[in-house]
Symmetry: C2
Subunit: 122 residues, 2 copies
DNA sequence: AGCTAATACCTAAGTAAATTTGGTATTTAA
DNA sequence: TTAAATACCAAATTTACTTAGGTATTAGCT
């Protein structure tokens, strides 16, 4: 809630750049953490980026379900402190897909840097 | 043409990550080069990224027109070697918008790197 | 001369992937 | 008892591309 208000105040344009990267980010986090639940993923990204990047749940959950349907992720439910959690982890097949998605994203970042670090040609 | 064929062969997934970054990339190039024409922009990105990133004209031209309509860019036509060129450059107002868009993109890249360089927490 | 590729611009239909907005339910802290 | 945080989800809409066409000129090959 606080963050939604913050987003209105400071016009977090970075969000627009996120388009297309969401799956890869999720896969990267799952490579690092073995298993995570949806809400945890949103909070982790927020922590890592000091609140500059915020995954919306409306985008995250459909993405998780899609990856599960594709056989990239599997789930296990847990009841923690009276609240339901749905943990996601990479399947064996998913680990390979995660690796290639993440390395493509890394390449993309490299290319963006090349573009951004360009010296003027005039 | 050659590149379109190459794109089929090597499944250039990086394209998906480009979503949302296009305007910022265009603005960055125009900060570096004062004026450029559409086709030149596509070729420049291809050069810089060694063919790994390819701006499609179907995406680029509508973006340029939008930025012009917003007053970020102005155009001047030129006839070069019997071919028509439409040069784009930043307006005064556009220079500020370009700067903020580019710095936001740079911040985004930094955040992506933070996510990608994460050490496992387990 | 005729063909293909490269140069240079453009639009429209379709699609993918978000955002926006709503919903449910429990726990914690004021 | 009320708001905020935790935790999940779906549907309608919007955004921003891709795909697939189109026009026209020049360069290079055979």
């Amino acid at each position: 809630m606080v963050f939604k208000i913050l987003m209105y105040i400071c016009d977090m344009q970075q969000q627009t750049y996120l388009k297309g990267c969401l799956s890869a980010i999720v896969l990267q986090l799952l490579q690092d953490n073995k298993r995570m639940y949806g809400y945890e993923i949103t909070q982790r990204v927020r922590e890592i980026t000091a609140g500059e990047l915020q995954l919306t749940e409306g985008a995250l959950y459909p993405t998780l379900h899609k990856l599960e349907a594709e056989g990239v992720l599997t789930t296990e439910n847990a009841l923690v402190d009276g609240r339901n959690r749905k943990y996601y982890k990479l399947t064996e097949n998913g680990q390979q897909q995660a690796q290639s998605a993440v390395s493509e994203l890394a390449d993309f970042v490299t290319n963006l840097q090349k573009i951004l670090n360009l010296k003027p040609s005039l």
